[in-house]
């Protein structure tokens, strides 16, 4: 199945100039792709929920979806996109015969589901939107947490396994097999035919939100904890986030998650300077942030606050919001940020939250206080290979005047870095450190390892 990448916004193309015709073409493409994915998800959810055969429903829709992605950008989006896809898919359904009795029966129920859908379109011009139920099904307890986001991306948005595999740094064949196994589990458990709100097991909306967040965060490097690299799936995750807030409009955590993602995404263009160099949050020009997106995030967050049920995503969004204040003031309110991290840590304590808190403490009360907070985390095994930990530590050490230790920590961060722009930035920081006259390692810290002495095995 051919699935072109989502086209990025003009802002994402850096400073390159895009001609008007090219821009129109791009817009037409984006509109068509959006419609195709919307209707693909709706139709797949509908057919799979009623026939119980996800694979066959996907098969039936595959060609139809591919030709929609190909034709709609030129021909325009049909009046009822789902109906167009369904007509194309039904041809395929009639063509293929199933071999054994079980799949014969499933095939029959899929054909019946397609007929029902057709009848619904003729009656009302739309079909019931089961996508939320589908998303809940993707987070069933039998599905491994790390497979929930990939499943949603495939079933709700129709992304192919290879694309998903790339974003999650997994071999495509492995991702393909895992998706197949996970879909079997969903099929075995049965998908609720009623949309989400009824009889949903407690906590499953949380699992849906966590999976969307995982898609948004896939492949991120997060140098300062609050300014992650925008992943290749940011657009798709935002889309899923909007879908959930459309369907569960009053859930404060769903609103919080969308606000959080919009805040992070608003800084996308500002994170790269001319020639693609990485620009850390503190050095960004707020004028390059997407003001409209920040405003939307702020209003979502206010809406969420009315429910008076704070949660992890609202707190994270509030931290983003405090940083966005730099549109109007020089420094963010570090005391408020530290307080928010304290709440977040109490709610969802993780070494990463503690790390980000330490960075904020370092800003509020000075580098030695930040270092003390960092030491208090006690670097677990997971943090040892976590690039942001070493970058944060290096920055605190450098500002505390412990140049030798800072040098070693920067080197570790460089060695763990994936994003070449961030790697370049860290190497510049390393260069910018003053000559360390006294090479005494600070008490309680790892002794610095001088790089040039370990000149082995580096191509």
């Amino acid at each position: 199945m051919r699935q072109p990448r989502f086209s990025r916004s003009a802002a994402d193309n850096g400073h390159s100039f895009i001609g008007l015709r090219e821009l129109n073409r791009q817009r037409a493409y984006e509109a068509a792709e959006r419609a195709a994915r919307e209707s693909y998800g709706k139709l797949l959810a509908y057919l799979a929920a009623r026939s119980g055969d996800i694979d066959a429903a996907q098969d039936a829709l595959a060609d139809a979806f591919a030709s929609a992605l190909e034709r709609w950008p030129h021909d325009g989006v049909p009046r009822i996109p789902e109906a167009w896809l369904l007509v194309a898919a039904r041809h395929r359904l009639f063509d293929c015969r199933r071999r054994d009795v079980r799949s014969e029966r499933l095939h029959a129920s899929l054909v019946a589901a397609a007929r029902d859908a057709q009848a619904e379109f003729e009656r009302s011009g739309q079909i019931e939107d089961d996508r939320l139920a589908f998303m809940f099904a993707c987070t069933a307890s039998g599905i491994a947490p790390e497979m929930r986001a990939p499943l949603m991306l495939q079933l709700v948005l129709g992304l192919d396994a290879a694309r998903i595999a790339s974003a999650f740094l997994v071999a495509p064949a492995t991702m393909g097999q895992r998706l197949v196994r996970a879909k079997r589990k969903i099929a075995a458990a049965g998908i609720s035919q009623r949309s989400g709100t009824l009889a949903e097991p407690p906590g499953s909306l949380d699992a849906v939100l966590a999976a969307i967040y995982a898609a948004f965060a896939a492949g991120w490097d997060d140098p300062a904890g609050i300014d992650p690299r925008i992943s290749g799936l940011a657009v798709e995750a935002l889309w899923l986030g909007r879908l959930v807030t459309d369907m569960v409009p009053d859930d404060p955590e769903a609103l919080g998650l969308l606000a959080l993602m919009l805040h992070a995404d608003a800084r996308r263009a500002a994170r790269r300077g001319p020639a693609g160099v990485f620009v850390p949050l503190a050095a960004q020009d707020p004028a390059r942030w997407d003001g409209a997106q920040i405003d939307e995030a702020e209003s979502l967050l206010r809406r969420a606050a009315r429910a008076r049920r704070p949660g992890r995503f609202q707190l994270e969004a509030a931290i983003q919001s405090a940083h966005a204040e730099c549109r109007f003031r020089r420094e963010p309110a570090w005391d408020a940020i530290v307080a928010l991290y304290d709440l977040l840590y109490a709610l969802a304590g993780s070494p990463v939250v503690a790390l980000n808190r330490a960075v904020a403490v370092g800003r509020l009360r000075g580098a030695p206080a930040g270092l003390a907070a960092l030491e208090a985390i006690g670097g677990g095994a997971a943090l040892q290979t976590y690039q942001p930990y070493w970058a944060a530590r290096a920055d605190l050490l450098a500002r505390a005047g412990q140049t030798g230790a800072a040098r070693a920590a920067y080197a570790r961060a460089v060695g763990l870095c994936i994003d070449p722009a961030v790697r370049g930035y860290l190497l510049e920081r390393l260069d910018g450190l003053p000559e360390d006259s006294a090479r005494a390692p600070a008490a309680g810290l790892d002794p610095p390892t001088a790089l040039p002495e370990r000149r082995t095995g580096s191509p």
């Binding site: 570790r412 763990l416 994936i418 095995g457 191509p459």
Partner: protein, 120 residues
């Protein structure tokens, strides 16, 4: 589980670098090697000399041999070095491969080592 990372990139790019860029590049590789060591996954690794120094040997079925100057294959990206790592699984291998500087200016081929049962 051992994996070989084969680092492919355009070997001529080193000649085109300014001294500062090449210093950064070397620093990035040294730092990466150090990170592998600190994580306890490093088994070995080396850069290779340019493909112009390669010689390719082949012996045919009739016993005649051919020795040619140059690499086995003429490609845009050449094998420029390798790492051997020992990690729990393929996913961990891919995560480390993505961190290799070569992944952002060339590509890193990740291959599991085939375990051969001891013959003695």
């Amino acid at each position: 589980m051992e994996f070989l990372f084969q680092l492919y990139n355009d070997e001529t790019r080193w000649d085109r670098m300014t001294p500062e860029v090449s210093r950064h590049e070397i620093g990035a590789y040294l730092a990466y090697t150090e990170a592998l060591r600190e994580a306890g996954v490093y088994v070995g690794g080396n850069p290779l000399q340019a493909t112009s120094t390669a010689t390719t040997v082949r012996v045919k079925a009739d016993g005649t041999s051919s020795v040619l100057d140059g690499p086995y294959a003429d490609t845009k990206e050449q094998l420029g070095g390798y790492y051997l790592v020992d990690v729990p699984d393929r996913e961990a291998a891919l995560a480390w491969a993505a961190r290799c500087p070569c992944a952002s200016h060339g590509s890193v081929e990740v291959r599991p080592i085939m375990a051969i049962p001891s013959l003695v």
